[in-house]
């Protein structure tokens, strides 16, 4: 039986990893291009989750259908934030530190606004599949987490294809590698920054729609997600989307095993301890090449 348990935990860990991967990839994209450590990312995921929640609660709309809507709304928010806040900071001397503090403050604003509007009650959307599961032998796969994992990997693959094969995607990757050189070669780095920021925030909205039926959530919960997502991004190597996705699966599986052997309380601790260990042993993470930011 112990073998079946092990497989079961692996499956659950991987299913969770899919959601974290989508949450983390937007963060990673924004960091890669803009060098912004967006601490407000999880709070924007929360906004997406609330959009999906109210659409389901009031209109009975499936979160999967709300997902593109949340993506667009959040992407538009991203454009607004970029224009209002981050564009003017680009010339700041202590840019990276400044943006961390700014996004931290933004996270508080979003949390406070959500808390004021919707109170701190725990919410979760419950479409039929959220509480259902497939069985393969004695191993069960929760449908909600499976679907969200598939959708999240589809979106990430689409993003990867866009970055790899479209002209604009190439411009984004060039800017990630070397902003000044990209600008010299005629890339409109401001536009690239704006678009990738919007995509990153949009991905937060999409992730929010998935999160809404995978986790129960309340506005203040984003602090926990911040540390979890940061551990993914740091382990994956700041700015590497592939690294973030891999890290999401690795850490979620480890966390699932830790939860099984030592109790659920300690499973989140995995992420935070991993963050420390990575910062200590290999600050640039698995795929990062940016020791100067470490």
């Amino acid at each position: 039986m112990i073998m079946a348990d092990m497989v079961q935990i692996l499956v659950l860990g991987l299913a969770l990893g899919g959601v974290y991967a989508l949450m983390g990839s937007g963060l990673s994209l924004v960091f890669g291009v803009m060098r912004i450590v967006n601490l407000a990312h999880p709070s924007l995921v929360m906004v997406g989750a609330y959009i999906a929640y109210w659409a389901f609660r009031l209109g009975g709309v499936d979160p999967m259908i709300t997902l593109p809507v949340a993506l667009v709304i959040l992407a538009a928010t991203g454009v607004l934030l970029y224009k209002l806040v981050f564009e003017r900071e680009a010339r700041s001397a202590k840019y990276s530190e400044m943006t961390v503090l700014l996004t931290f403050a933004l996270a508080m604003v979003v949390e406070g606004a959500l808390g004021t509007a919707f109170t701190n009650t725990q919410r979760v959307t419950s479409p039929d599949y959220a509480t259902d599961a497939f069985f393969i032998g004695s191993v069960f796969i929760p449908k909600g987490q499976l679907y969200s994992g598939i959708v999240s990997l589809t979106i990430i693959s689409a993003l990867a294809l866009f970055l790899k094969y479209s002209a604009f995607g190439n411009a984004i990757r060039a800017t990630t590698q070397n902003r000044d050189a990209a600008e010299l070669l005629g890339v409109n780095v401001n536009l690239v920054g704006l678009v990738s920021f919007a995509i990153g925030i949009g991905l937060a909205g999409a992730a929010g729609a998935l999160v809404s039926f995978v986790f129960s959530f309340f506005p203040a919960k984003h602090w926990e997600w911040i540390a979890i997502l940061m551990s993914l991004v740091v382990l994956g190597g700041m700015g590497s989307i592939l690294g973030t996705v891999l890290a999401a699966f690795i850490l979620s599986v480890i966390a699932a095993y830790v939860g099984f052997f030592f109790g659920a309380t300690w499973s989140t601790l995995t992420f935070f301890v991993a963050l420390f260990v990575v910062l200590l042993v290999r600050p640039q993470g698995l795929f990062g090449e940016k020791p100067e930011l470490a």
């Binding site: 700014l102 949390e111 406070g112 701190n120 540390a227 740091v234 963050l275």
Partner: protein
């Protein structure tokens, strides 16, 4: 060919520096902080004519944040390492003194320096790890620290887990009950401000400020940057831990969601940024303003969510339009009033 006597040159330079320091001293309004101190020490006399418990509480609350913000300033202001996780040391100081008070009945006011040292020692150890990275990575690591400590304190049965431990209230009549803590915080606040002045103007403080300007150059100039940074971390943890020690007994409760909430550490950061990072008067001015804001939002609007929203908004506006803070901006335009020039 004339011989150059290095001792002579050094002596001349020392004399010149001293004359500069004396000239600076002459413009300093030392009477002002002393007058504030005197007024605050005499303030509880108001209790003879009426009930001013709320006023006493507000001053006490502000003073506790002066201690913490001044402590944070040693690391965040002088050294330039922004920590969003200093409430960890607030909790460590609070739990250490609170548990000693609950079990051994030793007053937390007497234990405060010890609790500060415990927090400082822990800060030294944590600093050895987290100060290996800088910039955004350091900030992230400080956030993760809060999460780790929160999980530990919530699951540590000895300190009561998430429910915490209730502490005995003192037996003084209600109008005098706050006074021991009031004086403890006022004295600690004065000590913190004085100490940060002394630190800033010591060789150590000069090293810290060099690190905040350019760490690599400071290292090559012969500063032991690692030791300096870690010491700065330990010193700032010391002050925050000291404040935490007395805070627990004052609230008659130690519980993770008193100490380990993000608002506490944000307040420290925000007070320094609003007042002016790296200045002596900045954290004090920031504490007064932020406590006033908090009271306004919580007391008038009655919702802590709005308080979080407003705190975040103030922080954003402050960062975008006054990154130097009140003292820093005024000093840059040479409009800083003499009474606020404590540097």
């Amino acid at each position: 060919m004339p011989t150059i006597d290095t001792d002579d040159i050094l002596e001349q330079r020392r004399a010149y520096n001293e004359s500069l320091a004396q000239a600076a001293d002459k413009t300093r309004a030392v009477w002002f902080p002393i007058a504030i101190m005197a007024a605050l020490l005499a303030l509880p006399a108001l209790q003879f004519v009426g009930n001013y418990n709320y006023l006493i509480h507000l001053v006490l609350f502000t003073a506790s944040y002066v201690v913490m913000a001044s402590g944070w300033n040693v690391l965040g202001g002088f050294t330039g390492y922004i920590s969003l996780g200093h409430n960890v040391f607030f909790a460590v100081g609070g739990y250490f003194a609170g548990m000693a008070f609950a079990r051994l009945e030793i007053s937390t006011i007497i234990l405060a320096p010890v609790a500060g040292l415990v927090a400082g020692a822990l800060g030294y150890l944590i600093g050895l790890i987290t100060l290996r990275v800088r910039g955004p990575s350091f900030i992230i690591s400080s956030l993760a620290l809060v999460m780790i400590f929160r999980i530990f304190f919530e699951n540590w049965e000895f300190v009561g887990g998430a429910a915490g431990v209730a502490l005995k209230a003192n037996s003084l009549p209600v109008e005098w009950a706050k006074l021991p803590y009031y004086y403890a915080f006022i004295v600690m606040a004065a000590f913190a401000v004085w100490a940060s002045y002394r630190i800033k103007h010591s060789k150590f403080g000069l090293g810290l400020r060099a690190i905040s300007k350019d760490e690599i150059k400071s290292e090559s100039a012969g500063i032991n940057t690692r030791f300096y940074k870690v010491m700065a971390f330990a010193i700032s943890a010391f002050f925050v831990g000291m404040a935490g020690a007395v805070w627990g007994e004052y609230l008659t409760y130690i519980r993770p969601n008193i100490f380990l909430i993000i608002l506490v550490s944000v307040n420290m950061v925000l007070m320094c940024i609003l007042g002016g990072k790296g200045t002596i008067a900045g954290p004090v001015i920031g504490s007064v303003l932020i406590v006033a804001f908090n009271e306004f939002f919580v007391a008038t609007l009655g919702a802590s969510e709005i308080n979080i929203l407003a705190t975040g908004l103030i922080m954003m506006l402050c960062l975008m339009f006054f990154p130097l803070g009140i003292v820093g901006t005024l000093a840059r335009h040479r409009k800083l009033p003499r009474v606020l020039n404590w540097d």
